[in-house]
């Protein structure tokens, strides 16, 4: 369970995110977390809830809202992915997802820089009232002093964040001053693996090389955008017009940790259906659902050109406060329940 101070930081983060988006004319939406059919994704296992499933991401419903005429929407919600438990994974986690019509993935990268800059600043200067400091039993006098002056506001120390927009993480200083580093997937694979990304995909070694050789190097001088994924890993991203071998997809890394995944969204229903079929084929080997989200596909024709991104809020809080495991920033972990 989290200390009151950490909960305050979590609350500050949530409020800062909302303030950021509301000041930019986004509207906050809340879509159902239990759904009858999810996005077919071969590598993501949903948690069943009755005959339906808990969402693995709010993507389908949010894009349908774009089809209905919304232009800028964001959502903070819980997502569920079965079997994902580790230092950076929990089966239930908090996602921040947002969409902007008329934009492409480069616009979203710029907005990420602004969002995290703003949130970082807010966590730095947060002044907390009515929060007990963390005390050990031997700190009795401090405890009593605190009780005597309950009205006095306490400055929460800049745990991890310094006012000069530098993130202190794992003994390193990561500059948040834009522009951040941008590295294409191909450049990264050439640089850290000495092989092409395309070749890694063909050999079935892409994920392994990414996790073991590439990711540990990403996002230490500044946060880093890894962009232009091989089209086989396009997911729901649009193919790049000037280079059909890649998709307009990017991931954001800070201190070696993957924080966000954004796309220029694929809005071609037929292509999307083909990609879903391909995922279904892989899924069926695991004996999972064989249904397609037909209502989503039906609405996809009305979705305007847009870009969207999902960001792990727990991980963002983690890097902002200098924690090294997700468990240190979640109100409760599965282990606590």
């Amino acid at each position: 369970m989290l200390s009151p101070q950490r909960l305050q930081q979590r609350s500050d983060l949530l409020q800062a995110v909302r303030t950021f988006f509301l000041s930019r004319s986004y509207i906050e939406v809340d879509t159902p977390i239990r759904q009858p059919v999810l996005i077919p994704e071969a590598e993501i296992r949903p948690v069943p809830a009755g005959e339906w499933f808990l969402q693995t991401s709010p993507e389908l419903c949010m894009k349908r809202l774009l089809a209905s005429g919304c232009t800028q929407i964001f959502q903070i919600c819980h997502c569920f992915r079965q079997g994902e438990t580790g230092r950076l994974h929990q089966e239930e986690f908090t996602m921040l997802e947002w969409y902007h019509t008329g934009w492409d993935y480069h616009d979203l990268m710029d907005e990420c820089e602004q969002l995290i800059g703003a949130v970082g600043q807010c966590l730095t200067t947060a002044t907390v009232q009515n929060v007990m400091p963390t005390l050990t039993l031997s700190d009795k006098s401090a405890w009593q002093n605190h009780n005597r002056q309950p009205q006095k506001a306490m400055k929460v120390g800049p745990r991890g964040m310094a006012s000069s927009q530098v993130l202190r993480f794992s003994d390193k200083k990561i500059s948040l001053t834009p522009p951040w580093q941008r590295l294409s997937v191909e450049e990264a694979f050439q640089k850290f693996c000495g092989t092409s990304a395309q070749q890694a995909v063909e050999q079935g070694r892409f994920d392994e090389l990414l996790v073991e050789r590439v990711e540990p190097h990403l996002g230490w001088d500044s946060p880093l955008f890894l962009y232009d994924y091989p089209v086989a890993l396009a997911s729901l991203a649009q193919q790049k017009k000037t280079d059909p071998a890649v998709a307009e997809r990017f991931e954001l890394y800070i201190g070696g940790i993957e924080l966000a995944n954004g796309f220029t969204e694929l809005i071609d229903r037929d292509v999307q259906r083909q990609r879903f079929y391909a995922e279904l084929e892989k899924q069926q080997m695991h004996g999972l659902s064989h249904l397609l989200p037909e209502k989503f596909l039906q609405d996809l024709v009305d979705v305007p050109e847009c870009a969207g991104i999902a960001l792990g809020l727990d991980r963002l809080l983690m890097v902002c406060v200098g924690a090294t495991t997700l468990a240190e920033v979640l109100p409760f972990t599965a282990h606590d329940l």
Partner: protein, 188 residues
């Protein structure tokens, strides 16, 4: 059978016919990519360590491991002989197999012997606490330059450790076999 998602620190699995224990474990997964189960393992027979990354569909045999209560009888050269307290069967393990356990092993001590494949002894586990007699203790010199409030002693197995100044030759002390550290002085 275990699948990759069962892997965790401390789990014992069989690979190529030999038992391994997982000493480090990390789950990692790119958001849209495959789950990767990164492990560091130790071969329970040879002690060799290696790191390996597994995928969701990898499977592992359960090693045939069994613990039996046995009594330590005697050692001869590098062979340490034990007897099953119910069947009176006798077996031995080598000095190399026992490693640091030798520091705490006393005649007639009951230990758990780990068998692989039914009849192959590969390891022992000691009681967590053992009582051993101090056979050599130097007097404590106050103001010792090391700046610590402990002094070195030797116990009857030949093991040396740091204890508080009041422990004297002939005292029995309790030692935690997991850390090898002094716990308390024992009154007979």
């Amino acid at each position: 059978m275990f699948s990759a998602s069962d892997l965790r620190k401390g789990l014992k699995v069989q690979i190529d016919g030999e038992p391994y224990i997982i000493t480090e474990f990390d789950f990692s997964k790119p958001g849209k990519g495959q789950a990767l189960y990164r492990t560091k393992m130790r071969n329970m027979i040879t002690g060799n360590q290696f790191t390996q990354t597994y995928r969701s569909n990898d499977k592992f045999e359960k090693p045939d491991l069994e613990e039996r209560t046995m009594q330590f009888l005697y050692s001869q050269d590098d062979e340490f002989h034990f007897m099953d307290t119910s069947s009176y069967d006798q077996i031995f393990l080598t000095r190399e197999q026992l490693g640091d356990n030798i520091s705490f092993l006393m005649d007639n001590m009951e230990v758990q012997v780990l068998f692989f494949g039914g009849d192959r002894p590969i390891d022992i586990s000691l009681p967590i606490f053992v009582n051993l007699e101090v056979i050599r203790a130097d007097p404590w010199v106050k103001g010792d330059t090391s700046g610590t409030d402990t002094k070195p002693v030797t116990v009857e197995t030949g093991y040396k450790l740091q204890v508080p100044p009041f422990v004297e030759e002939g005292d029995k002390i309790q030692i935690d076999t997991r850390s090898g550290e002094y716990i308390t002085r024992v009154k007979e």
